[in-house]
Symmetry: C2
Subunit: 230 residues, 2 copies
């Protein structure tokens, strides 16, 4: 075990919550509010106030007692922490259904990820543009990635080719992969993979739903709240 990015001063769960705070803050700002307390944020987001306070302190902002935090600087602080003020350029690989949906999903650019081109191996797609972004031949990826200093790739290819394509991207110097393919990638040191695991999500969903249904069925007994549906 050599240098693993151990410098995570900020816990990942906190990083995950930052965009949630940001969304809320932007909304509040657009409503004309100028400051907000951790308590209020917590209420709106179903979190504990103390957790919000701790997170915000990790972002390096200070609040004022009785008032809370100034929204504008807070937004700025969070955006710069996340690097959203200067979105990272990214390539998308696999311009299928999911891929083109992501290409057309504008908010991503405001959220730190600027997909500037797509790659595919389907000759019918190559040369087209989707959401004003060109679809290029997959073979061109490594050289282009180097030339344009792109270090992030979004992988929306079938599982069967995911590994091969990921290797190609890494050859081009890609060191961050957002993997939507339902497969485990075998990756070497120095490359980070975030697996967007729909199956894990659906697992959580179904497990929780069946728990809720079970509770609902065996309910009436220990329903701790006023029941709504007869």
């Amino acid at each position: 075990m050599q240098q693993k990015p151990q410098r995570t001063v900020t816990p990942l769960p906190t990083v995950r919550r930052f965009p949630v705070y940001l969304r809320l803050l932007l909304q509040l700002k657009s409503q004309g509010r100028e400051d907000v307390s951790a308590t209020t944020i917590a209420q709106k987001l179903n979190l504990e106030a103390i957790l919000v306070r701790k997170d915000l302190s990790l972002a390096g902002v200070v609040g004022r007692p009785r008032i809370g935090f100034e929204i504008a600087p807070l937004i700025e602080k969070l955006e710069s922490f996340l690097g959203w003020s200067d979105p990272a350029k990214a390539f998308l690989i696999g311009a299928g259904h999911l891929g083109s949906a992501l290409l057309q999903y504008e908010p991503l650019r405001q959220q730190g990820l600027d997909i500037i081109a797509a790659f595919d191996r389907d000759p019918n797609l190559i040369g087209e543009t989707i959401a004003n972004k060109p679809v290029l031949a997959i073979e061109k990826l490594p050289s282009l990635a180097r030339r344009m200093h792109v270090h992030t790739a979004v992988l929306t290819v079938p599982a069967s080719v995911a590994q091969e394509v990921a290797d190609l991207a890494i050859d081009g110097g890609i060191c961050g992969i957002w993997n939507f393919a339902p497969t485990q990638l075998d990756i070497r040191e120095g490359v980070f993979v975030h697996h967007e695991d729909l199956s894990a999500s659906s697992a959580i969903l179904t497990v929780q739903v069946s728990k809720l249904l079970h509770a609902r069925n065996s309910s009436a007994a220990d329903s701790n709240e006023t029941t709504e549906e007869p």
Copy 2:
């Protein structure tokens, strides 16, 4: 004060890993293997062996020393735990780019979620079918959900209408919402929301990538990994 499903005997991180195990196990099985050790699983998935063993024991399987676990029963156990052998019926709301991508994403059914219909309010879409699934008028959702005993909804609508549509779904008895809309939902007790937060994912990705790049710059002289160290 919030929804805290404390009856979770199985930790959620474990539940999240189950599908990952399952994917690997299916792959191994297709290669003709009959058993596998926790050690091997851990290696392939970049996890600690002991963690795998603990997870599997929570799934209720027993292994044999020196051999490991029989793959077939393990698959069965995990699938039944996750409810994947009997997929939950679900409605999808919002047949836009992302929505139709999900409708066409076949693996979901094997992963416990069977989307049987879509809903939208666009008259041009209503009446069409996407991936053999009908697109219906959103107004029909509540009554249909009740009649067909659908308790799960996939939300792929713009943020601006997400709350309103979620309320409608809940009126229909929906108690599990997979929310792809980039907004916080205000939900009452007894309803579970899993927020598929692309912005949180992209946050993690960009933060990790910039960390990697920073490490890369401050360490190596030049870019290429093809240069062999003496």
